[in-house]
């Protein structure tokens, strides 16, 4: 590999991307970076730029060293370093989402009052509504939804994609229920119910089921 190719500078209007060879020794890279930037210091002049590194993983010390080299050899100002390590980003995203999901499932809040037509409430956590959710009203929660009253409007549980979310209502006659990305709607011909009882809507194998709240169903619930 020719020495010239182990460091490359790519740029756009707002920033530069420094592509570093993954196999070259860091000390060698440093001298090459120094040369490259010296050559092009006229070109950059005193631009204000963002920078990001590609090609190899850098420790924060190494990053610091490179930034110092650039600072000493050019007049340009590096305003910020953009991290585009896809692995780390993915890890961050996963941990964050998982944590948020746990939070939204395991914590909840109360809302007292009737949600009338046109009302729309959104919750980051699970929610317990003490009152009715009327036709034309909407409740969205990242966790579970429990209605101590009748649910006639729309309920959307697990809004962030949590398929373990569920909806409970004392009188379950919703217009629509959504759990994660599955939508169920009310039957076109309303069914006359003999007894009104508390029911739970949950997701199983891509289908939403509505069943009376009994022990066996409760045993299957995971929080």
């Amino acid at each position: 590999m020719s020495t010239n190719n182990s460091v490359m500078i790519k740029g756009n209007k707002y920033g530069i991307i420094v592509v570093l060879s993954p196999d070259e020794d860091f000390e060698v890279l440093k001298t090459q970076i120094k040369e490259k930037f010296k050559e092009s210091s006229k070109f950059f002049e005193n631009a204000q730029m963002a920078i990001s590194f590609e090609g190899r993983k850098l420790t924060s010390d190494q990053e610091r060293e490179i930034l110092d080299i650039i600072g000493q050899n050019t007049d340009m100002r590096i305003v910020c370093v953009i991290d585009n390590d896809p692995e780390r980003e993915e890890l961050f995203r996963k941990t964050l989402e998982q944590r948020l999901m746990e939070l939204s499932n395991n914590s909840g809040q109360f809302y007292k009052g009737i949600l009338r037509s046109g009302a729309s409430l959104e919750f980051e956590t699970s929610v317990i509504i003490i009152g009715d959710v009327n036709h034309g009203a909407r409740v969205v929660s990242k966790g579970n939804i429990i209605v101590l009253g009748s649910l006639k409007g729309n309920a959307f549980a697990g809004a962030c994609g949590n398929t373990n979310s569920f909806v409970v209502a004392l009188d379950m006659s919703p217009t629509q229920i959504r759990i994660a990305d599955v939508i169920a709607r009310a039957p076109d011909k309303p069914v006359k119910e003999e007894v009104k009882e508390a029911k739970i809507a949950f997701l199983e194998e891509g289908n939403i089921y509505i069943e009376p709240l009994n022990k066996s169903v409760l045993n299957d619930i995971t929080l």
Binding site: I114, S117, G118, D132, N134, H135, G136
Partner: protein
């Protein structure tokens, strides 16, 4: 200090204007000083129902814009000297008036009248916002139809959001024969959905159509609807009046009689 009551429904054609005319007239019969305000600018008809169309000189927009004084625009009713009507303008639209101006007008009228009844236009736009601006109380009128009840629900939500604390329900045009067959919601069903206090149930009565066309409110007459309206007035006054038995018309005599008439 008078009380401002807005009569509203959301949906059109459920009987807001008829209710305003009859409740207003009824309160005047009880000896109260009452003014009815038609806030349906551009589509006025409270004046027609009251039979006062031919007396209009100035209107609501004239008062708001300062073209005349309030007393010039108020029309004295032909039956009751303590009942007045402030008609709406027909040649303008709802945007001619703002909620602040309506509130100011209502506050001025409060000084002189016991009850100020606002007849609200259908819908939830500017006209509705104008009508509820100064209201202390609301009468929400609905018929026992799903669509009217949905709209009433939305309206109640908006009234609550606008701090109208006392909201009462009038179920209009109920037909007991249909309720019995299970083809129509009962007033209890409507009440359960909307979860507010019921202040009156008015039966579907052809006398209302006749009275409306003649410009004579039928409140106080012996008809079932007339008595139902009178009871609403008494309840507004704070009396505890039992609800009418709306079934009485279906007695065997009236059934036979009704059939022979046809």
């Amino acid at each position: 200090m008078g009380e401002v009551i807005v009569v509203t429904s959301g949906k059109g054609g459920v009987g807001k204007t008829t209710t305003t005319a009859n409740v207003g007239t009824g309160l005047a019969m009880l000896g109260k000083k009452v003014v009815l305000i038609d806030t349906d600018i551009g589509l006025r008809n409270l004046d027609v129902v009251m039979g006062l169309e031919n007396r209009i000189v100035y209107n609501l927009v004239d008062v708001i814009e300062g073209n005349c004084r309030i007393r010039n625009a108020l029309i004295k009713d032909k039956r009751y000297p303590n009942l007045y009507l402030l008609p709406s303008a027909q040649t303008r639209d709802k945007n001619s008036v703002s909620p602040e101006q309506m509130k100011k007008l209502a506050d001025e009228l409060r000084e002189e009248f016991d009850y100020i009844l606002m007849d609200c236009p259908a819908g939830i736009e500017q006209g509705f916002k104008n009508a509820i601006a100064g209201a202390d109380r609301a009468l929400v009128v609905t018929t026992p139809e799903v669509s009217a009840v949905r709209d009433a629900d939305r309206i109640i939500g908006l009234l609550e959001a606008n701090d109208v604390s006392q909201i009462h329900l009038v179920v209009n045009r109920i037909r007991m024969d249909m309720v019995k067959r299970g083809d129509m919601m009962s007033s209890e069903d409507v009440c359960e959905i909307l979860a507010i206090d019921l202040i009156g149930v008015v039966p579907d009565d052809e006398n209302i159509v006749i009275a409306t066309n003649q410009g004579e409110p039928l409140v106080g007459s012996d008809s079932l609807a007339g008595r139902a309206y009178m009871n609403i007035c008494s309840r507004i006054e704070g009396e505890d009046v039992p609800f009418l038995d709306l079934n009485e018309k279906n007695g065997i005599f009236s059934k036979l009689f009704g059939k022979r008439k046809k």
